[in-house]
């Protein structure tokens, strides 16, 4: 009995924590979106416009956006957004604001600091097409705060 008591207590504490989290009325909300970047030439000027992904073929450049908001009345800390890249796309360019992973999300960093092993086991500098995950870290999210996280990718 003595040996079992701490275990059941911790299980009780864990379930309490879970129910607290669930009853917090989902303080954080996320919404994913994707748009296609198209280059349009009109009246002699070329500009980039964003369009819904109605027609997407290999080579198209996509803008993935994740909108977040803290709907609760308490500040949120250690807000870490992890985004695995869909397999059919590759990162278009490394942009500021996020870290990347080339090993399935185990380690993150700037691309220039990462290496991958080739077929012969030799380490080489990681390339854009090696990126598997993107991670944004926001230390603090005030109540009612919201924003958007973006990255560009190209359909393979």
């Amino acid at each position: 009995m003595n040996r079992h008591l701490p275990a059941s207590l911790s299980a009780l504490a864990f379930s309490l924590a879970l129910s607290v989290a669930a009853s917090a009325a989902e303080p954080v909300s996320l919404k994913g979106d994707v748009q296609v970047e198209r280059t349009v030439t009109a009246n002699g000027t070329t500009k980039t416009v964003l369009a819904p992904p109605t027609t997407v073929v290999p080579g198209d450049r996509l803008l993935f956006t994740t909108r977040y908001s803290n709907d609760g009345d308490k500040p949120v800390d250690s807000f870490v957004v992890t985004n695995p890249l869909p397999a059919p796309v590759r990162l278009a360019a490394e942009e500021a604001g996020y870290e990347v992973s080339v090993d399935g999300g185990r380690t993150f960093g700037r691309l220039a600091a990462l290496t991958v092993a080739d077929a012969a086991g030799v380490r080489r500098a990681a390339q854009l097409e090696d990126v598997t995950h993107i991670r944004w870290t926001l230390a603090h999210l005030a109540p009612r705060a919201s924003g958007a996280l973006e990255y560009h990718a190209v359909v393979r």
Binding site: E26, G32, T54, N83, V155
Partner: protein, 348 residues
């Protein structure tokens, strides 16, 4: 194309893996693949880790139609007048991200610039298209086709355009032919699919985008690509010259001989092939002897040479004599080369 935007509450803080992952081809992600982007957020409230949340967005990759036709060899096919089944080789590559059929059509130019210099000035006959059996060489094992069936993304096939050359053509004549491959819907083996056009509207299925370049005679984004090749005639231009000289007579011998009865005459038949011509082969020389001369047995010499316009009495023994006719077959005569047939006869 379908698209959904969802907001999910997930029980796991592990990152969800994208669904619909498909192997990446040079032609790109396969049409119909879905791209699902999923984000996961972990956070704390009041120092307590909260249940992770995810959000995802999914859409479908459409069909990008692109095809390439290239001429193999980068040079005109050299043909002879009257040649049967002269062959031009093309390669058709499916650069689309989907398996498609490709209708094949061979059209001959009527005038205009040829592919490898010069201008088209004649048409071949009996034009047919054959699919290579894999060895890259036109043989009887290849099959005549009108379309390529179920060509996978990134796959290529070798195709032969075969035609007969009229026997009236001369050196320098050019027949240009254009092979056009037009993308058709795939999916049913053994039958050519429907024509493809760029989808006008966004449908619930996979849309089609024609994204091919402009070929020899087709426009960009028309679902077709074409390449041009030439059949260039190179004929042999043979000229024949027959000369004779008196070798000896019964009175003077070989010293200043005269053509009197009993004198020996040497005939020389020289065959020249003009420079720039094709090599002539199987050259048969027939010379019926005139009346009042008698063939000197075993006197025929083949493949001799000339110096200027003078026959050298050289060459190798050969040829036959029958029915009062001298017959001999010369070796192949390349452009700019002259070969001779020499024989002797006596005046009756």
């Amino acid at each position: 194309m379908t698209r959904t935007s969802t907001l999910l509450g997930a029980a796991s803080s592990l990152a969800l893996v994208a669904l619909g992952a498909s192997p990446a081809f040079a032609a790109g992600t396969t049409a119909g693949s879905t791209i699902q982007n999923t984000v996961t957020v972990g956070y704390q409230v009041g120092g307590v880790a909260q249940t992770a949340k995810t959000a995802s967005d999914t859409f479908t990759v459409d069909r990008k139609v692109n095809v390439s036709v290239t001429e193999v060899g980068s040079a005109a096919t050299v043909v002879s007048p009257g040649q049967v089944q002269a062959v031009s080789t093309f390669k058709v590559t499916n650069l689309s991200n989907d398996t498609l059929d490709f209708a094949l059509a061979a059209a001959q130019l009527s005038g205009g610039s040829a592919a490898w210099g010069g201008s088209d000035n004649f048409d071949g006959t009996n034009v047919k298209i054959y699919l290579d059996n894999g060895d890259g060489v036109f043989t009887s094992a290849d099959t005549q086709v009108t379309y390529l069936d179920e060509l996978a993304a990134d796959a290529a096939k070798t195709v032969f355009v075969v035609m007969d050359i009229p026997s009236t053509q001369v050196t320098g004549d050019i027949a240009s032919v254009v092979l056009t491959a037009t993308a058709k819907a795939g999916g049913t083996a053994g039958s050519q699919g429907a024509a493809l056009t760029t989808s006008a509207t966004n449908t619930s299925g996979v849309d089609t985008v024609l994204a091919d370049g402009a070929g020899a005679t087709d426009a960009a984004n028309d679902g077709a690509f074409s390449a041009k090749d030439d059949f260039k005639v190179s004929a042999a231009a043979l000229s024949v010259l027959k000369t004779s000289r008196v070798v000896s007579d019964p009175v003077s011998g070989t010293s200043n001989p005269k053509a009197i009865p009993g004198a020996t005459i040497e005939y020389c038949i020289s065959v020249a092939n003009a420079s720039g011509s094709a090599t002539a082969t199987n050259i048969a020389v027939n010379d019926p002897l005139p009346a009042n001369v008698t063939y000197v047995a075993s006197s025929i010499l083949l493949n001799g040479t000339v110096t200027g316009s003078t026959c050298n009495t050289d060459g190798t023994a050969g040829g036959t004599f029958a029915s009062n006719t001298v017959t001999g077959t010369l070796s192949d005569i390349a452009a700019g080369v002259t070969r001779t047939l020499v024989f002797r006869a006596t005046i009756n």
